[in-house]
């Protein structure tokens, strides 16, 4: 792991200068500031070593880095995590990656320089040097809902294969063949796992294997609306649409209404991975697999506090349940 000496050497400045820059002192020149920060970046140096501050003093503050604060799955998860943390004597500070890997990495840096006892993390795609450095420092981290390649930290997440299986069974029961699948980014494990489960199970349920019916967004409404629009623009007309998370379903529904008009859009059944509180009021109502965000948040906090206490923690997948609003 890189030390401040390495940073000073690479930047070509004295140890004192590197220290002043990295502690945020303003009595440094812009030039040395730029060089030190660039060197720290290159070496994935973690300033103000969280491991050190951990040994120095407990703050009873946990960090929680969510993927998208506007996604009710994550706000529900954060809320539950917070309640559990309160019961255990901790407060939670949150940060939002906004489904953006660069922003997630920036927050890892910020959390590493803050005084937190541990981190709950929904990783945003591939593992970065910064995440590797943080994990290597022995800092307590648990993953929420999303895996990261090669990271062995305990994971508390949804059982995606089981949830997609419930959706596929529902589609089969409803007699759908021409099903559009609007997925999430392949770089995010939930996006990849939900797509893989869908592809593996569709044929056995009599669902079309025509890939014109499949597209992916970015797990945000606008990206999903664009994906849904691309599917419709290929000239195919689904009788049902499966949205791979809540914001994706919102975007898909918006695109159906915009492209086809409300009457035609209302003839298409929609099912979502993630239940949202307004699904019961649409025409027709939207069915969903309920992804238990609250349980994941609670388990994540319990797991993290166990890690902080130096105990072993095992990963856990939380099952989903089907909320069938088709009236059948």
């Amino acid at each position: 792991m890189a030390t401040i000496k390495d940073v000073a050497e690479l930047a070509g400045v004295s140890l004192g200068t590197a220290s002043r820059v990295l502690t945020g002192s303003s009595s440094t020149s812009p030039d040395s500031r730029a060089r030190v920060l660039a060197a720290a970046e290159e070496l994935a140096y973690v300033a103000n070593g969280p491991a050190r501050s951990l040994r120095r003093s407990r703050t009873d503050v946990l960090g929680l880095l969510v993927s998208d604060i506007r996604n009710p799955f994550f706000s529900e998860l954060a809320h539950a995590a917070e309640r559990e943390a309160m019961l255990l004597g901790y407060t939670v500070l949150l940060a939002n990656a906004n489904e953006d890997a660069a922003q997630a990495d920036e927050y890892l840096r910020i959390f590493a320089t803050q005084r937190i006892d541990g981190l709950l993390l929904a990783p945003q795609g591939p593992v970065t040097p910064r995440l590797t450095a943080l994990l290597a420092s022995g800092f307590p981290v648990v993953l929420l809902n999303r895996r990261a390649e090669g990271v062995t930290a305990p994971l508390f997440g949804t059982d995606n294969a089981q949830g997609v299986g419930l959706v596929l069974d529902w589609l089969q029961r409803r007699g759908h063949r021409d099903v559009a699948f609007v997925g999430g980014p392949a770089a995010v494990s939930t996006g990849a796992e939900r797509l893989a489960a869908y592809l593996a199970g569709r044929e056995a349920r009599g669902i079309t294997t025509d890939d014109a019916f499949i597209d992916a967004g970015d797990f945000l409404p606008d990206g999903a609306a664009a994906a849904m629009t691309r599917i419709l623009d290929r000239g195919v007309r689904p009788t049902a649409v499966f949205g791979a998370n809540g914001p994706t379903t919102l975007g898909a529904v918006r695109a159906l209404h915009a492209r086809l008009g409300s009457a035609e859009a209302s003839a298409i059944e929609v099912i979502s991975f993630d239940d949202l509180d307004w699904f019961e009021f649409t025409n027709p109502p939207i069915s969903a697999v309920r992804n238990d965000a609250a349980a994941i948040g609670r388990l994540g906090v319990i797991g993290l506090t166990e890690l902080i206490a130096g105990r072993q923690v095992a990963s856990l997948r939380v099952p989903t349940e089907l909320i069938d609003r088709s009236g059948a």
């Binding site: 502690t23 945020g24 002192s25 303003s26 703050t59 009873d60 503050v61 604060i69 506007r70 009710p72 706000s75 529900e76 954060a78 809320h79 917070e82 309160m86 407060t91 939670v92 500070l93 949150l94 940060a95 939002n96 906004n98 922003q103 920036e106 927050y107 910020i110 320089t113 803050q114 005084r115 937190i116 409404p221 919102l250 529904v253 918006r254 209404h257 949202l276 509180d277 307004w278 009021f281 649409t282 025409n283």
Partner: protein
Amino acid sequence: MVTIKDVAANAGVSIGTASRVLSGSEQTSPESRRKVLAAASSLDYIANGPARSLRRARTDVIGLLLSDIRNPFFSDLAHAAEQAARSAGFTVLLANADEDASQEQASLGAFASQRIDGLLIAPQTSDNVQFERLAATLPLVFVDRTVPGAHVPAITTDNAGGVQQALEHLHRRGHREVAYIGGPQSVSSARERLDAFLALRTTLGLSDDSRLVAEGDFKTMSGALAAQRVLDSGARPTAFLVADGLMTLGVIRALRDHPDAAEVVSFDDAPWFDFVTPRVSAIENDAAEIGRTAVRTLLDLISGRPVTSSRVPTRFINRHPDGGTR
């Protein structure tokens, strides 16, 4: 500098008790709580010294204490604040008060233990002394809500203007029996919206039946319960004006069992209002603009520039295809 020891001695309690009171723990007696707070106040004690960390170093991190993370108004506000902060080279750490004063205290304590350059907060309480004290130690800006008597810049919504747009719409559509589901009166935005409703319904000649008004807590369930109270009271509203988006969801739920479904207007727009029955018109409360303006104001404050409070205008979204009359 005054330490917690001085506060404990002055209050005549143990350091542990003083610490528990000052960190907002509930395991303290009202008596010791009163003594410790009086001592802290008379000694000008600064708990968990954010001022100290502020003087130590700039971190380019700001805090945002939200009222309710599950309320889309606040998650939209947080998202916009974050984007604005990022483009200015700052990052934002969030905490959630969950519309709860004691959780607000815990979150303030957490921020105090961190390294932040300034704080945006949607306050839960009307404790102007506490916020004045905090503002003396850390650049502070209120978002969405304000506290009377606290000299803290506030970036809020034009609550009166928004209620006026909604009531004029309902009046034009022929409604005279308009129910109002308000928010908690401890919160300035809820007070301003209720005051505007009560003043305008008189001006517009709407029914002043007191059974038409009920109060919730800005969360979903309370909206359903408050609407049910109005319906059970014997009042016969033909329209509901609801003081936030979450309570609107609750009101829609409560109205589902009433086939003569009343028209609903929400203070807060939601993307799904387009797709549900009944259509919900909305006062668009521009969370994103409030978030951006608040960040600009806080960064000005951090840089020592003069700042002012401001109100962000609302926009009315009429989702009735026939627009005019019922």
